[in-house]
Amino acid sequence: MSDNIVEINNLSFGYKGRLLHKGINMSFPRGKVVAIMGGSGSGKTTLLRLIGGQLKPVKGEVKVDGAVVHEQGREGLFNLRRKMGMLFQFGALFTDLSVYENVAFPIREHTDLPESMIRDFVMLKLNAVGLRGAHNLMPTELSGGMARRVALARAVALDPQIIMYDEPFAGLDPISMGVVCNLIRRLNDALGATSIVVTHDVHETFSFVDYVYFVSQGVVVAEGTPDELRKSDMPFVHQFVHGEADGPVPFHYPASDYKLEMLRG
């Protein structure tokens, strides 16, 4: 068994011909919290979907627990996904189910536990995200940040081995942000899981992750532990860590020259 529970080898992927990832290599060792950072639209969400097997790579492969994801049949894919939990960028709570039922959903689908035990599990997870009191509410009655925390509770309901978080801090106040950082770390260590955190938030992230990958324009441009990266003088990392608009990270979606376009008018 390899030490890396998830491995991405020379992965290329694109929507409709335009290549988004051009040969990405990453590895996620068991028990670690690894962050993937990069500008908006750099394909981070897409990368998580590739790990989850919802998209097929154009070239290269993603290996989860030794198995090549895109070579799995339906059954194999479902078995792999049973090891994963994913927090979606926009929560993706089931709007026809209450908060309680949302968190209970994966437990009900995959186990035959009695109701009393399901209740204990659900309340435990909701308590961890500070929303035990909200278990009766419907998703439409939650704020964006609350919905995201419920989604987090749902993602870890079955104690997965791999937990993927798509922007867990977006829309959270500084207090909840600290709580969520702590939670991700604690869950990871308590479950012996591996966490993949997609985020833009440099300072919060650097405070609790073990390793960081920076992606830009389809490739990994920098990687290392937070300490190594803080000291790094690579222009890219410097720009990102200090939030500067000018630098190697393009702010614009690829487009033709603006001035030329205006002149052509």
């Binding site: 996904r81 994913m86 993706a92 709007t95």
Partner: protein, 263 residues
Amino acid sequence: MFSSLKSVIAKIGHNFIEGVWHLGAGGRLFFYILVYLGESIRRPSLIVREIYATGVLSLLIILVSAFFVGMVLGLQGYNTLQKYGSSEAIGVLVALSLVRELGPVVTALLFAGRAGTAITAEIGLMRATEQLSAMEMMAVSPVGRVLAPRFLAGVISMPILAALFSMIGVLGGYFVAVPLIGVDSGAFWSQMQASVDFREDIVNGVIKSVVFGIVCTMIALFEGYDAPPTAEGVSRATTRTVVYSSLAVLGLDFILTAFMIKV
């Protein structure tokens, strides 16, 4: 001139290919749903919930419509029949029209408008808000968990709704014919009993409504599942559900009737 002709032909060809592609995709989805049917039957609570959403909530509109349709049949039928001096046959006319045709067909049309659109919009929105994606990532098949129970609920609800439609329609016809017009109540019922055949009329009507149930529910499910994940995409899909369901019901009704009637 030539190029505009060419573009017309290209457009027709494009629409045709698109149509065939859709039919294929729909067929594939139908197959997947059938595969998950067994699993779904073992979770009756999910089906009951959907029967409530599709069947029970459609009851009111269907029963009210049925009563009015029955009353109109009574009036029109009496108006014609009395010219031939056979106004007691009004019961037969009302019952046969309802059981054979209007029950299954009008129920299916109302069902497409009331329940079909709701199914399409709900599933389309579930896709747009990534709920179906989230389900897949939890190793739960949306086809098994979301589509199959709704399919079963639609197929179960439709014949029951159609039967209720016919029943209430007959009562509507009775209400006009007997208390209002004064046709003999005994003649109304006895002629009806004598002329409505169980095999020929009732069973055929039920067969029709089962077929309509399968087709209407399948169209609603497919359009929702296939809708582009945007507000516009979902609204267009909802419209398509009504249009395609109505056309399919009326077309299939002709075909089924042609097979059922011995000329």
